[in-house]
Amino acid sequence: MTAALWQYILGGVVDGAIFALVAAGFVLIYQVTGIINLAQGEFVMIGGMTAAALTTGGMPLVGAAAIAVALAAAAGGLTYLLAIRPARGGTALTLLFITLGVDVALRGLALFVWGTNPYSLPPFSAGNAIVIFGGALPPQALWVLGTDALVFAALYLFFRHTRVGTAVRAAVANPPIASTFGIPLRTFAFGSFVVAAAIGGLGGVVITPIPGVQYDAGLTYGLAGFVSAVLGGIDSLPGALLGGFTLGIVEHVAAGLLSPGWDQGLGFLILLLVLVVRPQGLLGRAARRA
């Protein structure tokens, strides 16, 4: 019983790692623009699909991964330039619906380009499962967790120790005043979409060897990332990390103990609970925006 539970928790840690990356994208975009980008999960799908399709076609992994991340980043930038920026000044709901439209459109486009077949990637490194206290992790899990560590460390360093990062924090804290000091808000908004999409795409590349990927995988990642971000606090990057792992573990334990169908259901139930009890999330500050 405890052995099985431990194994569910380990499985949840792997899922949690990718949820945290998607959640980081949600937090970045929300912080800088105030927009909840429901298309965030599609960048994971684009990253995973591109890398899988290119390596299946014979390209070396490193090249395929680089192209995959670049393509996801480009998709993020285009989302901002073509869909978000022309609608600026729209209400929060208009912008939310726009990202919903982008989400549907990107999934349709993926269906056209790649069809309905599932794709997969070989694990990045060979070797046996890693055994921790009797529970097993696939070696690929280290790549996923390592990516988390790198991305979150990079974000921390960027925001705390670079001039541009400080400028972004100023823009988040008070956009009009930051703007009068010459901080380019629109460039930052564009940048937040590009970086969030690149992080999602990178997550898609490293996670794909474990569950595989198909054209509609983005919806699950997007919803889970969204839930993680709100769980942890939509204005907090550490919250994204905490929310992602919490959700991943809860979903896996629920699926193991109840039935596989309940994993998503329980995650969302917890979300509802958090929204009622602590709408700002576990690590978020009291809500500034509705």
Partner: protein, 318 residues
Amino acid sequence: MRRLSTAYAPVAAVIVAVVAVLVWFLPSYYTGLLTLIGIYALVTIGLNVFMGYAGQVSLGQAAFVGIGAYTSAVLSVKLHLTPWLGALAGAAAAALVAFALSFIVLRLRENLLALATLALGIVINVVFNEWDFIGGSSGFKGIPGFALGAYVFDQRAYAILAWVLVGVGIWFAGNVVQSTYGRALIAISSGELGAQALGVNSEGLRRQAFVLSAVYAGIAGAVYASSFTYIDPTSFGFLLSVNFVLMAVIGGLRSLWGAVIGAAIVVALGQILQTVIPLVLPGARGDFQSFFLGVILVAMLILMPRGLTSRFASDAQA
């Protein structure tokens, strides 16, 4: 703010009459589509009261359609009740669930309300999937049809029934939104604090609008279940909820006719894309249409955020 028309009843009657005549000439496939448009339009009318007039948001409306459909199906298949009662019970069940949930989700606003309703829709769908009593993932087959005396409804009758419901639904919603009640809803959407300061009970009104939208969805679900005789959890997923938002936005959120126009356009567009795309792009599958639906949603929101009917509305205002 004045809306499209003060005379909902006569126009609704004309539309029902047109449908009643059309069904005798259309091939049965198109009659089925007409029924589907009617059912979706009914849901979207309810959604427009909640989203368009009251300025709220629901990304989980398909769940209420599902509750209506499942309630009616359970009552008619297991207890052999007539679907007429089933539809009433479906509406009541959807209303009850909406009422109970409103105490949780309606504490939230905007983005978080969107997320909460989205979560609700998914949780309710998981319940459909996991609850064996209501068929689990395999759903319900052989749901009995509506009947009047010895006459069991055929496709034509369903199309007429759906559109009679649309007519009644528009008439009722039209009265709602033009009453003091409706003006209070609009006041909430233009600023909740201000509305409260003017003595509007925004908490209660938002709840009533939410429950009303669930009633529309529940009735639509019951008609859906009986006319298609088969339901399963995938019929009421997140994507259907997205489609309702699309219909509401395309038609115009603050317009009841917009709901009908939006439903008609989304269903028709889906059909057209399904036939045209493979001709133009031989490699494309039918589902590729969702790309265009997404692009249309984005384009509409950028170019005409108030929907197609906003053009007529501003004319009427002048």
